[in-house]
């Protein structure tokens, strides 16, 4: 399996008042294509920060970050956003669907930003709706859906651009256990189809769906 991304002594710190707070400290990590990694650790251990940095929404201040062989740490912002637009999909704990858009339009949005042609967009979204069994819901607005359905739409939206990597920050945090199980099973199915997944979670049960568990504490990897 080829290497998707690698972190080399990656560090992230912020200034809070006069104090320098280190959020991530010397992270060394290699992720191969097709892996399903669960990041675990208590609140404040740096799980979300690590996901954001890997997802290029945030930057490491030190160390190296290579994604598909390209050095992300020395990239210009524009290039970086091209890269994550192409290869990364995000799933959030609070779903973060756009309230003003219907299910169909929410899923369609990433394609709009990739300048995909209208006919092709329609076909892709229709496929996705089909696959997730939510064709009947396509004209509803997010507030008309249950939490589990919203997260389904969130995942569909993350997948529509056919990414290599899905980053999921507590994807089941707002769901009940039955919905959680459904979502996790969906993730493991996607993983089997070849999508690399990194999730942050508190739940041992959810973590067990992954092929690899990484424990974080105070911004450092303590065990694998």
């Amino acid at each position: 399996m080829s290497i998707l991304l690698s972190l080399n002594e990656a560090t992230r710190s912020v200034n809070s008042g006069n104090n320098k707070v280190t959020l991530l400290n010397n992270i060394n990590l290699q992720v191969k294509e097709g892996e399903f990694i669960s990041l675990m650790g208590p609140s404040g251990s740096g799980k979300s920060t690590l996901l954001n940095c890997i997802g290029m929404l945030d930057n490491f201040n030190g160390g190296g970050y290579t994604f598909l062989g390209q050095p992300v740490h020395s990239m210009k912002e524009k290039k970086r956003s091209m890269l994550y637009k192409e290869y990364i999909g995000f799933v959030f704990q609070a779903y973060h669907l756009i309230d003003e858009l219907t299910v169909f339009e929410n899923i369609e949005t990433p394609l709009l930003y990739k300048n995909v042609k209208s006919s092709e967009r329609k076909a892709l979204v229709a496929d996705m709706l089909d696959r997730f069994n939510i064709v009947g819901k396509k004209d509803l607005f997010p507030e008309q859906l249950s939490g589990g359905q919203q997260q389904l739409v969130g995942i569909a939206r993350a997948l529509i651009g056919n990414p290599k990597l899905i980053l999921a920050d507590e994807p089941t945090g707002n769901l009940n256990s039955k919905q959680s199980t459904e979502i996790m099973e969906l993730f493991s199915e996607l993983n089997k189809e070849g999508v690399t997944i990194i999730q942050a979670t508190h739940s041992e049960k959810n973590a067990s769906y992954g092929s690899r568990i990484i424990n974080l504490l105070d911004g450092e990897i303590v065990s694998e």
């Binding site: 003003e100 858009l101 949005t109 930003y113």
Partner: protein, 794 residues
């Protein structure tokens, strides 16, 4: 993509319905007033566009040594110029000589009448609706009508070739109808007659000399004319022909196209201030929209962040926001055009009075105004969208997605200054309105020195068709009234309080060598009795003693003071350098307010004239016992229905005529009130946006304070305190300004109220209450929110 942007925009606007509607209202009102101002300016500048070759038209201006200027020159001057200079292509007089009565099918019409040379339309080639301008004034008995007059007399038909009877004797043939003329044009026309018709008028012939200046002259010069040389030529002719060169400094050749600004410099001021006002209104509504947008942007930080995660560029986010505001702005422009056409334009026409045509909006002519407003719309959209959205799209995704907006820095100084500015204007207007209101009610209720209740006034200058018949019927009416038990007194006079002519004479007292300029009027023996103006010395006129030929007079106290007399004993009103024995003074009346209270009571003299002089008196005044006004009114109206006249007899009450003097100032009050309302509405709109912004930013703080036990009142105060302070600062700025403006204004009134502190207190309180309600609406909502919701973490 664009479709997606538009859908999102419409859904966003719909989601914030209240705010969108408020914005729409504010924008529509603002833009429609800008549109009205711009349109007036545009209409003014293009009003004379229908006159071809304006560059080659010149007029003559007489400048006196004392600095006074006027457009008239002696009548024969034109002929002298034309015959002595080959450069004159055409030249014309244009002047009035009394407005002619025109009769058609036994109906009489009177309109402004001007007399012009047959060459008039060669100088001013005004477009004709019907007829031919080359020959229109060639025939002595021809008449040219403006569109308005033509409609009045002939309806929509083409009147060319039809005949009108002018002044009972002249058969005038209609030779042309002019196209509608803008009221902004320098032409104020009704009907035009050839001045050849005046050559038989003995009065005119007597004035047609080098001593009298009563007619403007306009010349069309050939393009190669040396203007400086022509001016010298004019100056030479003046020296050669003028009989009285003592008071005249020069006669100037002036370009016609600059005439309006030259003769009415105030217009330039009005135009400049209109443009400044439009700019200012625009600035205020834009700043408000900016404030409101900033506050709505706060609620969108999360959506913006999500869109960025999904791959949106910053540009695309800004673009979407531009479309959203563009929809708002352009819908407002649409509404404001509607508002302009249905409300503002008719009001604008009302302001000009219906006499000289009306301004209409015609897209073919006036498209530059619409184009201008569209450009303004685009620029405004860009400004109100780009400025706030740029600030928000810069927020890092990781912060935005959590909706943590309390970290966003803000430049309050600029916004606070605008809030203060807006409220200063609003409070200023309220102050002006309060004080003006007091002044008007003071003037309306003040003791004017004469009785105005239960006094009927009718006009007698009716252009009687048969004066002898009218006179005998009128005498019968007078006898009738005098014997009516409900009538206390009847009088006829040239003037009535609120309507005195501006006729003055200078009288001289040789014993103390004092010269006094006095306003002069004529009254019968019961004028002062009817108005119940008390005598201070002497007696009233008496029809049994006084002879009109001797011209006995009654003066007022002001006249006595002006002469420095203590008694009229043995005094007469003499003319200086005259051999006549002068006018005997029979009495002195107490000063009364024959004009509105803006004017001081000046020396005034009433000369005796018999009550039966129907031809000379202008008013019939009848004092009636209270409660019997209607029956007496009916009696008088009946009598006048029997007298045939061109004008209609109009019956009014003296109290209404006195109040009517304040119509103009009440109009001003009305527009001040509207301005105040608009200003406070727009200001509060901005304030509402700002407090929403603060409330959202402080949602967590409010939650924490409530958990710690703060009351709703405390929190409302916390949220609104800063803004109430701003309003207070605005008041502190506005008060001295209002005081200065109003005391300067009230100085122009001869009798005015004194400005009291409580007037400002009232104005301030009004502003404060409106502000408090606006702020309260939003603040209470935040303060009563459940802290459990606001403190919940994501």
């Amino acid at each position: 993509m664009i479709k997606n942007h538009i859908t999102t925009s419409v859904r966003n606007l719909w989601k914030n319905k209240t705010l969108s509607i408020l914005n729409l209202l504010g924008l529509s009102i603002g833009i429609s007033s800008v549109l009205t101002l711009l349109f007036s300016v545009y209409a003014y500048y293009t009003a004379d566009n229908n006159i071809p070759e304006k560059e080659s038209i010149f007029y003559l201006k007489t400048v006196l040594k004392n600095g006074d200027e006027y457009r008239s020159v002696p009548y024969p001057f034109l002929d002298v110029i034309k015959s002595s200079s080959p450069k004159v292509i055409a030249g014309t007089h244009l002047h009035g000589w009394g407005n002619i009565w025109l009769e058609k099918d036994n109906k009489d019409f009177q309109n402004r009448t001007d007399y012009a040379d047959p060459e008039f339309f060669e100088v001013f080639d005004l477009p004709f609706k019907y007829g031919n301008s080359d020959t229109a004034l060639k025939n002595k008995y021809s008449i040219v009508l403006t569109d308005k007059v033509s409609r009045q007399i002939f309806g929509d038909s083409n009147p060319v070739g039809k005949t009108l009877i002018g002044a009972d004797t002249l058969n005038l043939q209609v030779t042309g109808v002019l196209k509608p003329i803008s009221p902004y044009s320098s032409f104020r026309l009704g009907v035009i007659l050839p001045n050849t018709i005046l050559k038989e008028n003995p009065n005119f012939v007597a004035q047609n000399n080098w001593e009298n200046s009563f007619s403007p002259i306009d010349l069309k010069l050939s393009a190669d004319t040396n203007i400086a040389g022509f001016q010298e030529h004019i100056t030479r002719l003046v020296e050669e022909h003028y009989t009285d060169l003592e008071s005249i400094s020069e006669v100037k050749l002036m370009p016609y196209k600059e005439m309006r600004t030259d003769l009415m410099p105030i217009v330039d001021v009005i135009i400049t201030s209109s443009i400044a006002a439009s700019f200012f209104i625009l600035l205020i509504i834009l700043v408000n929209l900016l404030n409101l947008n900033t506050s709505t942007m706060l609620g969108r930080t999360k959506t913006l962040a999500v869109r960025k995660v999904l791959g949106s560029s910053k540009k695309s986010l800004v673009y979407q926001y531009c479309i959203e505001n563009g929809i708002l702005v352009f819908v407002s422009i649409g509404l404001s055009i509607l508002l302009f056409l249905t409300v503002n334009l008719p009001r604008l026409n009302d302001a000009f009075g219906p006499e000289f045509g009306e301004i209409s909006f015609n897209i073919l002519n006036d498209y530059p105004v619409i184009a201008g407003i569209v450009i303004v719309g685009i620029l405004s959209t860009l400004m109100v969208s780009i400025v706030p959205s740029l600030r928000f799209v810069k927020i890092p995704v990781t912060i935005g997605i959590k909706g943590k907006i309390d970290r966003i820095k803000n430049n309050f100084l600029l916004r606070n200054s605008f809030i203060i500015l807006q409220f200063s204007i609003a409070i200023l207007c309220i102050c002006v309105s309060v004080i003006l209101n007091r002044q008007i009610s003071f003037m309306k209720s003040a003791d004017l020195g004469f009785e105005r209740n239960s006094i009927l006034v009718g006009n007698l200058d009716l252009d009687y068709k048969n004066l002898d018949d009218a006179q005998s019927k009128f005498n019968a009416l007078l006898n009738d009234l005098e014997s009516n038990p409900y009538v206390k007194s009847v009088s006829t006079s040239e003037s009535i309080p609120s309507d005195y002519y501006f006729n003055y004479s200078s009288y001289y007292d040789p014993t103390i060598n004092n010269d006094v300029r006095m306003r002069r009027s004529y009254a019968d023996d019961s004028y002062f009795k009817t108005l119940e103006v008390p005598l201070v010395e002497g007696r009233h006129f008496d029809r049994n003693i006084d002879q009109p030929d001797e011209r006995p007079v009654i003066i007022n106290e002001a006249a006595m003071r002006a002469f420095g007399w203590t008694s009229i004993e043995g005094k007469r009103l003499n003319y200086k350098d005259s051999n006549s024995t002068g006018l005997p003074i029979v009495g002195v009346v107490k000063d009364f307010h024959y004009e509105d209270l803006q004017e001081a009571v000046e020396p005034l003299v009433h000369i005796y004239r018999s009550h039966k002089e129907l031809r000379l008196h202008r008013f019939l005044t009848v004092s009636v016992q209270e409660g019997h006004e209607i029956s007496v009114e009916n009696k008088i109206t009946e009598a006048f229905n029997d007298i045939s006249s061109r004008k209609t007899y109009v019956q009014s009450r003296l109290s209404d005529m006195v109040s009517g003097q304040y119509l103009l100032i009440e109009g001003i009050l009305k527009s001040v009130n509207i301005t105040a309302l608009t200003a406070i509405f727009i200001s509060c709109l901005g304030l509402f946006g700002l407090i929403s912004f603060t409330a959202k930013r402080k949602v967590k703080e409010i939650g924490i304070r409530k958990v710690l036990g703060a009351s709703v009142t405390k929190i409302v105060l916390l949220l609104s305190k800063d803004y109430l302070i701003l309003v207070a600062v605005a008041a502190i700025i506005a008060f001295p300004l209002a005081w200065y403006i109003m005391s300067t204004w009230l100085d122009k009134f001869a009798y005015s109220i004194s400005i009291k502190w409580w007037m400002f207190a009232v104005a301030g309180l009004i502003a404060l209450c409106i502000t408090a309600i606006t702020l309260g609406l939003r603040a209470v909502r935040s303060a009563t929110a459940n802290p459990v919701d606001s403190l919940k973490t994501e």
